[in-house]
């Protein structure tokens, strides 16, 4: 094996996957063709999942806090896993109020984020529809999604008697606290803006900017078809609604 042959072999064996797995897919994914609703469906125009909140900044904080080590944001198609069928991960099941809203993750779901936080492991649940679950589960209670999320980040096991269905959620949470996202201030003279979370006597809790961005991002995680039906061409789940009902 001569030096020239060696270098040529190295360049070829690296260059081919570099081209085929990195360069070309990068180029193709950069220019995905917009998907349109079909002729004759109730909705028209381009399909863009709309998200509401501080997506870009919140996504950055989510990454910096390393949430992707324990949480995923990927509902895999059924050939790759059973995520679509797990309760409330992919959306809501059919009720009297709405059709089945479950769907798998789409490429447009990560619009506005610099990097898609697919996640590395599921020590904690998948968060693709965290906002949706929270909204549903807090219906009829007097807690807002923001307050629940702030409480969860500050002290995940502090939500006393908080039940969802038959599960007492709070006590079983193994999420470590993220106290660094909050500032403890004296409650007198604080001038409002304190969170409704009890800590010691005379002290109150104020979220940092990063906490606010993160909570806004987390609450915006609603990647299902409620209010945003799929065009037929993207619908791989026969249960999910493709028309407004």
């Amino acid at each position: 094996m001569t030096f020239k042959a060696f270098i040529f072999g190295l360049l070829a064996s690296f260059g081919f996957p570099w081209l085929v797995a990195v360069v070309i897919p990068f180029s193709k994914m950069r220019s995905l063709e917009p998907v349109r609703y079909e002729e004759g469906s109730k909705l028209s125009g381009v399909f863009i999942p709309k998200r509401d909140g501080r997506i870009t900044e919140g996504s950055k904080v989510y990454g910096q806090e390393g949430c992707y080590h324990c949480h995923t944001q990927l509902i895999r198609p059924s050939y790759a896993g059973n995520d679509v069928f797990r309760d409330e991960w992919a959306g809501l099941r059919k009720t009297a109020d709405h059709a089945d809203t479950r769907r798998e993750t789409l490429a447009m779901d990560f619009e506005g984020e610099k990097v898609a936080h697919i996640g590395l492991s599921r020590v904690g649940p998948d968060l693709s529809n965290f906002g949706r679950r929270l909204e549903e589960n807090l219906k009829g209670t007097d807690m807002s999604p923001e307050d629940w999320t702030y409480q969860h980040l500050y002290n995940p096991r502090g939500l006393k008697n908080y039940r969802v269905g038959s599960q007492d959620l709070a006590e079983r949470s193994s999420c470590p606290a993220k106290r660094g996202l909050f500032k403890v201030v004296d409650s007198s003279g604080a001038g409002g803006g304190l969170l409704p979370i009890e800590i010691e006597e005379g002290k109150g809790l104020r979220p940092t900017d990063r906490a606010r961005q993160l909570v806004s991002y987390l609450i915006s995680l609603k990647k299902d078809t409620l209010g945003q039906p799929l065009p037929e061409v993207l619908n791989r789940n026969p249960q999910a609604s493709t028309v407004e009902e």
């Binding site: 360049l11 260059g15 570099w18 360069v23 180029s27 220019s31 125009g45 381009v46 619009e111």
Partner: protein, 97 residues
């Protein structure tokens, strides 16, 4: 030791060959950049194009319905009469309540 293989010139060329090899894929990335960054059809842009198309439709439909010349004439004659008429004071009305 084989002295012909190791001299300052050989070392100099070896250094630059090494730099070139190491940088080869960095250079390749920069070469393919114009190709990979050629076209972007974002959904947001397509939706914006849709909205602009609808706006253009509305504008042209309105344009067609409006008779610009008679509108101009009417505006002109009204403008003329306003210009030539003298402003007259309005008698204050008796207080009613």
């Amino acid at each position: 030791m084989d002295h012909t293989r190791d001299n300052p010139l050989k070392r100099f060329t070896a250094f630059w060959i090494a730099i070139l090899l190491v940088a080869s894929f960095g250079i390749a990335c920069l070469i393919v950049r114009p190709i990979t960054h050629a076209r972007v059809d974002s959904a947001v842009k397509a939706a914006a194009d849709d909205r602009r198309a609808i706006r253009a439709q509305i504008d042209s439909a309105q344009e067609q319905k409006i008779n610009r010349t008679s509108l101009d004439k009417a505006l002109q004659s009204q403008a003329q009469s306003l210009l030539t008429s003298k402003p007259t004071p309005v008698k204050p009305q008796a207080a009613s309540q």
